[in-house]
Amino acid sequence: MILWRASWRTFRRRPLLLLFSVLGVALGVAVVVAIDLANSSAEQAFRISARALSGRATHQVVGGPGGLDEEVYRRLRLQVGVRASAPVVAGYAAVPARPGYTLQVMGVDPFAETPFRTYVPAVGGRGELSALLTEPGSVLLLSATAEDLGIVPGDELELEIGGGRRTVVLRGYLRPGDEIAARALVNLLLTDIATAQEYFGETGKLTRIDLALPEGPEGQEMLARVRSVLPPSATVIAAGSRGDFLAQMTEAFRLNLTALSLLAMVVGMFLIYNTFSFSVLQRRELLGALRTLGVTRRELFLLVLGEAALVGLAGTALGILIGLALGSGLLHLVTRTINDLYFVVAVRDLAISPLSLGKGIALGLGASLAAALAPAWEAAMAAPRTVLARSTLESGRRRLTPLVAGVGLVLLLAGGAIFLLPGRSIPLAFSALFCLIAGYALIVPWLATALLRLLQFSSGRVFGLLGRMATRNLSASISRTGVATAALVVAVSATIGVGIMIGSFRLTLVHWLEDYLRADIYVTAAVSGSRPPLQPVVVERLSALPEVRLVTRARHLELESPTGPTSLFVVDMPAESFAGYDFANGDPEQIRQALLNAPAVIVSEPYAYRHRLQRGDALRLRTAGGEREFAIAGVFTDYSSDRGRVVMSRKIYEEYWDDRTVDAVGLYLAPQADAEEAVAAVRRAVGGGQQVTVYSNRGLRETSLATFDRTFVITSVLRMLAILIAFVGILNALMAMQIERARELAVLRATGLTPGQLWALVTGETGLIGLLAGVLAIPLGILQALVLILVINRRSFGWSLQIDLAPAVLGQAFLLALAAALLAGLYPAWRMARTSPALALREE
């Protein structure tokens, strides 16, 4: 206990150092916990939403692009005798008064709902049911959703649905059985099935039929009978598969975020290491005396680890609190990205999962202990002598520096070797990346020492004696400066790596959009999450415009397959528009001819990667006449979706599916036509009949890039947090140096250095740290960028990207390193400059 008391009071006497150490752990844990909570909240939201929407359904019958005919439902109930079956029409609606607000619309038959969903009003229940059935445009919402929209039962609500505007009336509230179901239904708008069919323009059609089949042989037998009456275009899927599929879609995105958050934790670990390393160094004589008095190595080792555990515990507790607050903000960004890129999900609140908190605790404590292992070992190895000169220690550490660099080199090579192994594992790729980062960080002190040696000559010439002193001081205190520099290198290199990756991605996207978007104007009735068809009359009017010389008609749909929904893009393929497709191999014109004249498709790179397909393979798709094989004529570059998609010519599509729907058109203008006037003409041609969005070519490119930029906001936030932690680390190291050098600085003051000169000396040292970190971060940053682009992005999303080593990114990062170090040095420099020679020279 006495030993522990001595240890605790050592930290208490240096409250700022203790605070920074705790803060370092706290920030690292906060970032990890925040990302984990945001990710798990989003995942939980779409899982429970999928589950709540499917209710107690065990299976779902889904159709092809044209949906399911109502006749199928009649057959199931009457012919097969499946009493527990419920028809559903589902889609999305936007709320024009609240831009960005999307409701999930579900049209149901209340009489069939009882076996499935308890939140739907039952027959004989409250009055909402009769209103739902008899009053047109009647809808139900959760009371929380209604409150959010500012409406009460009896109020009207305007919606953009099925390509048009509709006014609905709130008749009552959904009544979920528990809090979890309530969270899942937060953006659900329930209506009668006939109303939904009318609004979506799907009269006589269903989106799906929910089934509740018994378990065991009886259920299997019934399933077989169900399958026997289905048309060829329909299939039965497990009701729970939707949630899994949604999770799988966003897995790579969430994993990348997690990796970035772990990087912040790694930087925090440097801070811990630095703190405890300094603490052991400062107590070296004391530790030697304790060893002489009979304290064993094990006891000293456990003492230092115990200190780290306490710091870790305090930092973790604080980190979790910060993480909860940060998580709410990040949740908004994560949800927005999922909505932009993948599917509609509404997540209002952060779901505080014990698992996420547990991970944060384990990581915070684990990282603190891991970071303190080496200093604890060093403390344990303290020789039981009466005095151990600091110069001996420093020179001892300097001797260790090449050895540590050697270990770093081995780690670098190991990381590189892992990348050379064939495979697709993303976690393994990230592990190898961390090996690279850790290995390089271990080499930084050696590189810093070498660079300082080079700088000594020039700094002396330019800045005189003070300049030479600054470089020598840093070199002489490599035990502290080396670690702080390494932390800043790691943080800044992450900025470079991610910055280059994002820049390369953006450049790739810009070039791709320029090539791919060939039409001058695009028209769609799409509203968040759904693509209602363009009315045929609208398509005719647009095609007849004098400004328009060529029209390509497109259809976006999802086909169910054993691996989940496949995104199919159907489009006319005149040579001019087809020129926008870039193929890895094969002659584009031959590919186009194959698409027009044979059952063939082309697949995007991500699709080919995920499904391990290549040109020449066959793809089975469920058509109106059952499953058919389509030859893969080519693999094309595509950045519209990381899930990947299949593209088919309209000509072939209409041969195999009874569907003539058009949900988007591309208009090619005559050579003399003015683009702006043409857009105006398009709007006039559409008139007020249907809500459409008209994009000019440039407008669509800008919208796409804006979505891209939004996606990486969260990445930028995480990068800045990593820099903040490194900044705290530098501040920590400089404060420690101030304590260590009090006597030395007092001697300088006594000798005649003015406070201003002393300030300049210390600032010069911190500037040198920033300079070194900035320079050393560049190679590591470029290496990280290459790994992210060539390996991780490829394995996560299947994309191949151009590499753009933008000098601006490197320059900015260098300046960031310099600025962070100089800023961190301001306060310590000010304090050191105020050192009183008399006070510091007094004998203790």
Partner: protein
């Protein structure tokens, strides 16, 4: 065969050094600190070790205490062969049987006076009423009974060294090793501290090996030995 260094042997030795050698490699050469040293130190004996700087006085203390291992030979204290023990065993032995007094005091700055005194007792097991009483007595003996809650940086040099002396004795060791105990004190304070130490050690019947440059201190010892040229020899004119 090199002649062994033999010096006057006490009747009941606590410490036996047999064939003790310590050789350090220095580049291509070897620096011989001791070679085939034999020596005995008696129970309750006070021995002063004098010699030039770098002669090996502190090295000898390190070898005797088990902090360092000799290149050859044997160190035996109270029947225990230190040179045959592991590092951990030597540490535990040191904690139980040896007390240290350093030139620069080496008190724990973040422990109070009383806590510094109790530290060796805690290292050796739980602190009971008996141990606390003993600590209080010692504190009174060294004149710090009124300062139990003060921190070392509030004490004068003399007070710190008196506390260090008490710390070295509190756990009733068999042996005390003092390396220049008055080296950091003025003459008057040093004399006072040495007188106190002498008194405490004699009363406790503890063996004291004392490294010093001070003739006055050496004069208090039962024996004065000179360390030098790899040997231990009786000092002239003592």
């Amino acid at each position: 065969m090199p002649q062994r260094n033999a010096i006057r042997q006490p009747a009941t030795p606590l410490i036996r050094l047999r064939g003790l050698s310590k050789i350090y490699p220095e580049g291509e050469r070897q620096r011989i600190v001791f070679q085939n040293l034999d020596a005995d130190f008696g129970r309750g004996e006070m021995v002063a070790l004098i010699g030039r700087s770098g002669s090996g006085k502190s090295t000898l203390l390190n070898l005797i205490s088990g902090i360092d291992l000799p290149t050859g030979g044997k160190v035996e204290i109270g029947g225990a062969v230190l040179t045959g023990l592991s590092e951990r065993e030597r540490t535990l032995f040191r904690r139980r049987h040896i007390g240290f007094i350093f030139q620069f005091f080496n008190l724990i700055p973040t422990l109070t006076v009383l806590e510094n005194l109790l530290l060796p007792l805690e290292l050796n097991g739980k602190i009971g009423a008996e141990e606390r009483r003993r600590a209080a007595d010692l504190l009174a003996r060294v004149g710090l009974a009124d300062r139990p809650d003060s921190y070392p940086d509030r004490l004068s040099g003399g007070e710190q060294q008196r506390l260090a002396c008490a710390r070295a004795l509190v756990h009733r060791p068999q042996l005390i090793l003092a390396d220049e105990p008055t080296g950091n004190l003025d003459a008057e304070t040093g004399a006072l501290v040495m007188a106190l130490l002498d008194d405490l050690v004699r009363q406790a019947g503890v063996t004291l090996l004392l490294v010093t440059h001070s003739r006055e201190l050496a004069g208090r010892a039962d024996r004065v030995l000179t360390v030098g040229d790899g040997r231990l020899s009786a000092a002239e004119a003592w």
